[in-house]
C-alpha cells in the first residue's frame, strides 16, 4: 500500500485548516469579478491584499494609446525586468498615436483587448478579472496593467529576476559528456530538456504546489513511451501534496516516495540535462521544481544508482568494466569493515597463514577488540567527511589530508589502530565515493554500521543475516509500481543488458517495458545496425579517392 500524505496530528491539522481559511478569506474576500471600474479602488484593494509591502511598485501614468485615460502598472521590484517594462510596455502606451489611429473612441472595456492585440509588443499577455489571479501573477514576476474604467487587468510576462546562468554541474561530474547543468529556474530547466528531446510527444504539465510558496512544478514525460499509469500516479501524488512551502525537490520527493522508512532512495535526482533526457527516452517521468537545479526521476530502480551517463558515451567494453568496478566499490563500501571484523575475530582460520601472522603483528599493540577499532575509525572518518563539506573551499582538501594521513599515521604509530584497519577504512571511504549518486552512497554508509555490529556478534553468519534482511527489504520495495530490484527480479532479459553490464548500443533494439508502454518499443530501426559494415567501407572508400585523384 502506498502512503504519501504524511499523517498529521489533529491539532496540527486544525491549525493548518485555520491558516488556510485565513488565506482563502484574504484572497476570496472580494467577489469573483473582483476588479471594479474604479481604478483607485482597485489599487487600494491590491495594496491591502499585499499589506502595503514596500517592494510592490505601482506606477501611475496617463495612457495615450488607444485613448487618453489613466492607467497603472503593478509589479514587484526585483522580479521583473525594468527594460521590458520601459521599452515594451510604457513606451508604446504613452506615445501619442499617429493620425492613422481611428479608434480614439473605443470604450474602455475593449481597450484592453486592443492593447493586447495591437499595442504591446510582448510575448505573453492575458487578461483577467479576478484579484486572486492578479496577485498570484504579480507575485510570480508578471506585471499587471490596470486601466481606468475597465473591469479587466492585463497580465504581462515581464519575468526577469537575477538568475544563475547555466553552468557545469558540480555534484555529478563526468569526464566525457555535456558540461551543461540545470539551474534554479524552472523554464530554463525545461528548455534544457526540450533542446535535447525535440519530440512533439514530449509533454510538460505544470502544477503549483505549496499553499504559501506556490512553487511551480513541472512534470515531463514522453507520451506513448512513458507508462500512462505511472504518469497518472505521479501527477496524482503531486496534486495530493498540501504543504505550506516547497523549497527544494527533496520536499516533493519525500511526499511522493513509496516508502518513507527505507534507507534506499526510491526516486532518483540529477542535475544533468542529458541524464534527464536519457531517462525520458527510457519511459520515465521527470519532475522539475522551480528553485532548485536538482530534478527528480521517477520511478527509480536499484541498478540505476551505479549507472552514470558516461556509460553510454564510452564504448561498451569500457562502460561494462566501469560498472563492474562501481558495483564492486559499493560492495566494499558496505561490507569491507564488517568482513574484516568477522574474519579477524571469528574466522581467523580462513585467512592465509602468512597474512594472519602479519595481521596479528599489526594488532599486537592495539588494546581494543577489532569491532571497537573499526567503529572508532569509521566514525572519525565520517566526522572528517562531514567537516570537509562544511569547511570553506580552500581549507577543505587540507583538512582532508591532515585528517586522513596525519591522524591515521599518528594513530598507527601510537598503537591505537592497526595498519590494516587504516587500509580498510581508506578503501571503504574511497569505495563509497565511487558511487555515482550521492543518496545511494549515503544509504550504504548508513547501513555499514549495523552490519559491523552484527559481524561483531555473529561473524560471517551475522553478515549473511543482514544481507538477507536487505534482500527481503529490497524485494518488498516498489517505486511507482515498478519492483525496485527489476530487471533482476522479476527477470527481464531485455533490460538485463543494461544493468550490471552494458551491451553495445546497436544491440538495444527494443525498449524494455519495465517503465515504458509496450506499444511502441522500437529504439533502433532494424536496418541501421546492419547498414554500417566495415568491409563495405574498405572497398568503396579507396575507389572514390582514386577517382578523385584521376
Amino acid at each position: 500500500m502506498t502512503r504519501f500524505v504524511k499523517p498529521r496530528k489533529l491539532s496540527e491539522w486544525k491549525q493548518q485548516q485555520v491558516l488556510e481559511e485565513r488565506f482563502e478569506q484574504k484572497v476570496d474576500r472580494l467577489p469573483e469579478d473582483g476588479l471594479t471600474e474604479d481604478l483607485d479602488l482597485n489599487l487600494k484593494t491590491l495594496h491591502e491584499m499585499l499589506g502595503y509591502s514596500n517592494d510592490l511598485i505601482i506606477r501611475d501614468f496617463i495612457c495615450e494609446t488607444p485613448r487618453h485615460m489613466r492607467a497603472s502598472l503593478i509589479f514587484v521590484d526585483g522580479l521583473v525586468s525594468t527594460e521590458i517594462i520601459d521599452d515594451q510596455i510604457m513606451r508604446p502606451l504613452m506615445i501619442t498615436p499617429v493620425a492613422e489611429y481611428k479608434e480614439h473612441l473605443l470604450p474602455p472595456t475593449e481597450a484592453v483587448l486592443h492593447i493586447k492585440r495591437s499595442v504591446l509588443p510582448i510575448g505573453e499577455a492575458k487578461e483577467s478579472a479576478a484579484f486572486k489571479d492578479v496577485v498570484k501573477s504579480v507575485l510570480s514576476g508578471d506585471t499587471a496593467l490596470l486601466l481606468e474604467g475597465c473591469r479587466q487587468a492585463l497580465l504581462l510576462n515581464t519575468k526577469g529576476w537575477e538568475k544563475r546562468s547555466v553552468s557545469e554541474p558540480t555534484a555529478e561530474s563526468i569526464v566525457r559528456g555535456p558540461r551543461e547543468g540545470f539551474s534554479e529556474t524552472l523554464r530554463v530547466n525545461t528548455a534544457l530538456i526540450r533542446r535535447r528531446v525535440k519530440d512533439p510527444d514530449l509533454r510538460v504539465k505544470n502544477f503549483s504546489v505549496g499553499t504559501r510558496s506556490n512553487t511551480d512544478v513541472a512534470v515531463l514525460y514522453i507520451e506513448g513511451v512513458a507508462d500512462h499509469n505511472i504518469v497518472e500516479e505521479v501527477q496524482r501524488r503531486i496534486q495530493d501534496i498540501e504543504i505550506d512551502g516547497v523549497l527544494e525537490s527533496g520536499y516533493i520527493e519525500q511526499f511522493i516516495e513509496d516508502n518513507h522508512w527505507s534507507p534506499f532512495p526510491i526516486i532518483q535526482n540529477t542535475e544533468r540535462p542529458d541524464k534527464a533526457a536519457a531517462n525520458l527516452l527510457e519511459g520515465k517521468v521527470i519532475i522539475v521544481i522551480d528553485g532548485t537545479p536538482f530534478v527528480l526521476i521517477a520511478p527509480a530502480v536499484l541498478s540505476q544508482f551505479y549507472h552514470s551517463p558516461e556509460d553510454y558515451y564510452e564504448r561498451f567494453l569500457i562502460s561494462t568494466l566501469l560498472r563492474f568496478i562501481r558495483a564492486l566499490s559499493m560492495t566494499i563500501a558496505l561490507l569491507l569493515p564488517s568482513l574484516y571484523i568477522a574474519f579477524s575475530s571469528f574466522h581467523p582460520e580462513m585467512i592465509p597463514s602468512k597474512l594472519v601472522i602479519a595481521m596479528a603483528a599489526g594488532r599486537a599493540t592495539v588494546p581494543f577488540p577489532s569491532v571497537v577499532e573499526a567503529l572508532a575509525m569509521e566514525i572519525s572518518i565520517e566526522i572528517l567527511r562531514e567537516a570537509s563539506v562544511r569547511l570553506p573551499g580552500p581549507i577543505g582538501p587540507t583538512i582532508g589530508i591532515v585528517g586522513a594521513l596525519i591522524v591515521g599515521e599518528a594513530a598507527v604509530s601510537a598503537g591505537i589502530v592497526s595498519p590494516i584497519m587504516v587500509i580498510v577504512v581508506a578503501l571503504t571511504t574511497i569505495g563509497s565515493f565511487a558511487a555515482p549518486s550521492y543518496n545511494a552512497a549515503i544509504a550504504l554508509r548508513m547501513l555499514r554500521f549495523p552490519v559491523m555490529l552484527l559481524a561483531a556478534a555473529f561473524g560471517l553468519y551475522g553478515i549473511m543475516l543482514f544481507m538477507i534482511l536487505i534482500v527481503v527489504h529490497l524485494c518488498s520495495l516498489k517505486s511507482f509500481g515498478v519492483p525496485y530490484l527489476s530487471p533482476f527480479t522479476p527477470r527481464n532479459l531485455l533490460a538485463m543488458g543494461d544493468s550490471v553490464i552494458r551491451i553495445p548500443l546497436y544491440w538495444m533494439k527494443k525498449r524494455p517495458n519495465v517503465f515504458a508502454e509496450s506499444t511502441d518499443n522500437v529504439r533502433l530501426k532494424p536496418s541501421s545496425a546492419e547498414d554500417i559494415k566495415p568491409d563495405d567501407k574498405w572497398k568503396t572508400e579507396p575507389q572514390t579517392e582514386e577517382e578523385q585523384d584521376q
Binding site: 502544477f207 501534496i241 580462513m350 561473524g459 560471517l460 509500481g481
Partner: protein, 400 residues
C-alpha cells in the same frame, strides 16, 4: 488555492487491480531454492549408507520421483487456477449439494499440512543451528542461531507473496553459483577407484531403491506449489519450468554426492555426520586468497536455509490463517506461530542422532503429504471431472 481542493477525493490506489501472477522463472526459482536446504549436508551419507559406491544412482532415482511429484502437483493445481490448496481441497473433497461437507473434511487435512510445514521449518532451523554451532560459531548458544533464523522467517512472512517469490529468485542465484563453484572444485581430490565399478551388480538394486527414500525427502519443498498455485500463470511453459526447478537441486546433489564418493570413498563418507562440510574442508582455493572455504560455504548456505525455512513457514502460516479465515498478514498470529516453531525446534531431539531420526520420520511423513495425497486428490479430481482451466478466459470473453 491548494490543488487538492480543486480535485477533491480522487480514487486512491488504482494500481494493484489484478492479482499478482508470478513469472515462470520465478516459479522455477521458488521451487529450486525451497528444495535446496539442509538436505545437501547429509545427503552423501544417507545415500552411501545403503547404496555404497552406487549411491549416486539413488540420487538419479530420487530425482525421477521428484519430477513425478512436481508433475502431479502442477497437474492438480492447473485444474484450479487462481486457487490455493486450502480452497481447492474442499472442492475436491466436498460436494456441491452439501455445502458444509467440504470445509469440514478438509479441516484436519489442511491442519496436518500446516503443522507439517511448521515441523519441517523447525527441523531445518534446528539442524542449521546445530551445524553452525559445531562448525563455525562454537561459543554461540544454539538458541540464538535458531532464534535469529526464525526472526528472519517472521520478517519474510509479514510480506506479500510477490516479495517471497522475488526473494527466492534473487537468492537462488546467490546460492547456486557459489555452491556450483565449490562442488566443482571439490573434484580436485577425486580418485576414480572410489567410484568404480560404475554399473551396480545384483544385490545392489534393492539397496539403491532403499537409498532413494532419503533422497526423496531431500527433494521435499516442491509441495509448497500447492499453496502458491494461486499465483501461478496459466502458461504452457509452466510445467517445463517447474521441472527445471527440480532439476537444479538434482544436478547440484548429484555433483556433490559424486564428488564426495570420489574424494573419500563410501566407507568413510557414510560414517561422517556432515559429509558435505568435510568435503568442502578438503578443498584448496587457487591463489590462496582464503585458506579454508567452509565458512564461506556456510555463509552461502544461510541463504539456502533461509529460502527453505522461510518459504515453509510462509506456507504454514498462510494455510493456517486461510483455514481460520484470517488474512495471512495478521501479525500476532504469525508471531505466535513462530514462537511455537521455536519451541518445537528446541524441544525436538536431544542430540544430533535423535534429531536425525526425527528428521527421517518427518521426511517419511512429507513423502505421504507431498507425493501420495496430491496423487490421490488428482485421481479424485479426475474422476469427478473437476476442471476450471480456461474458465476465466471464457468469462472475460463473454463479458467483452
Amino acid at each position: 488555492m491548494t490543488s487538492g481542493k480543486q480535485n477533491p477525493k480522487r480514487k486512491k490506489n488504482k494500481t494493484n487491480s489484478s492479482p499478482y501472477k508470478m513469472t515462470v522463472q520465478q516459479a522455477m526459482s521458488l521451487n529450486a531454492s525451497t528444495i535446496i536446504g539442509v538436505g545437501v549436508l547429509t545427503l552423501p551419507r544417507s545415500v552411501t549408507d545403503a547404496g555404497h559406491q552406487f549411491g549416486w544412482y539413488s540420487v538419479l532415482l530420487g530425482l525421477l520421483y521428484g519430477v513425478l511429484g512436481i508433475f502431479v502437483v502442477v497437474k492438480l493445481g492447473a485444474r484450479f487456477p487462481g486457487k490455493t490448496f486450502v480452497e481447492f481441497s474442499s472442492e475436491i473433497l466436498g460436494s456441491q449439494k452439501v455445502k458444509w461437507l467440504g470445509p469440514v473434511i478438509r479441516f484436519p487435512l489442511i491442519l496436518i499440512y500446516s503443522l507439517y510445514w511448521a515441523l519441517v521449518c523447525s527441523l531445518v532451523a534446528r539442524i542449521f543451528g546445530e551445524v553452525v554451532v559445531t562448525a563455525v560459531l562454537t561459543n554461540t548458544p544454539l538458541e540464538v542461531i535458531v532464534g535469529t533464523m526464525l526472526l528472519l522467517c517472521l520478517y519474510l512472512a509479514w510480506h506479500d507473496v510477490e516479495v517471497v517469490t522475488r526473494v527466492n529468485e534473487v537468492l537462488l542465484i546467490i546460492i547456486v553459483i557459489p555452491v556450483l563453484f565449490i562442488s566443482l572444485s571439490a573434484y580436485q581430490n577425486a580418485q576414480m577407484e572410489f567410484i568404480m565399478p560404475l554399473v551396480p551388480y545384483d544385490g545392489y538394486w534393492f539397496q539403491l531403491l532403499q537409498g532413494s527414500l532419503p533422497v526423496m525427502t531431500s527433494f521435499l519443498g516442491f509441495e509448497c506449489m500447492l499453496m502458491f498455485n494461486k499465483h501461478l500463470q496459466e502458461d504452457r511453459k509452466m510445467m517445463r519450468y517447474q521441472i527445471y526447478g527440480i532439476l537444479v537441486p538434482g544436478v547440484l546433489y548429484l555433483l556433490i554426492v559424486i564428488a564426495g564418493i570420489m574424494a573419500f570413498g563410501y566407507e568413510e563418507l557414510s560414517r561422517q555426520a556432515w559429509p558435505t562440510l568435510e568435503l568442502i574442508k578438503s578443498v584448496n582455493v587457487p591463489g590462496l586468497i582464503l585458506e579454508r572455504l567452509e565458512a564461506v560455504f556456510l555463509g552461502v548456505w544461510v541463504a539456502a536455509v533461509f529460502t527453505t525455512a522461510g518459504t515453509w513457514f510462509y506456507c504454514a502460516n498462510w494455510t493456517l490463517s486461510e483455514l481460520i479465515g484470517r488474512p495471512h498478514k495478521r501479525r500476532w498470529i504469525t508471531v505466535a506461530y513462530v514462537l511455537l516453531i521455536y519451541l518445537l525446534a528446541m524441544r525436538l531431539g536431544g542430540n544430533v542422532q535423535e534429531l536425525f531420526r526425527t528428521t527421517d520420520y518427518a521426511g517419511y511423513g512429507g513423502i505421504v503429504l507431498a507425493f501420495v495425497i496430491p496423487g490421490l486428490l488428482l485421481l479424485i479430481a479426475m474422476a469427478r471431472k473437476l476442471d476450471h482451466r480456461g474458465e476465466k478466459e471464457e468469462e472475460s470473453r463473454e463479458a467483452s
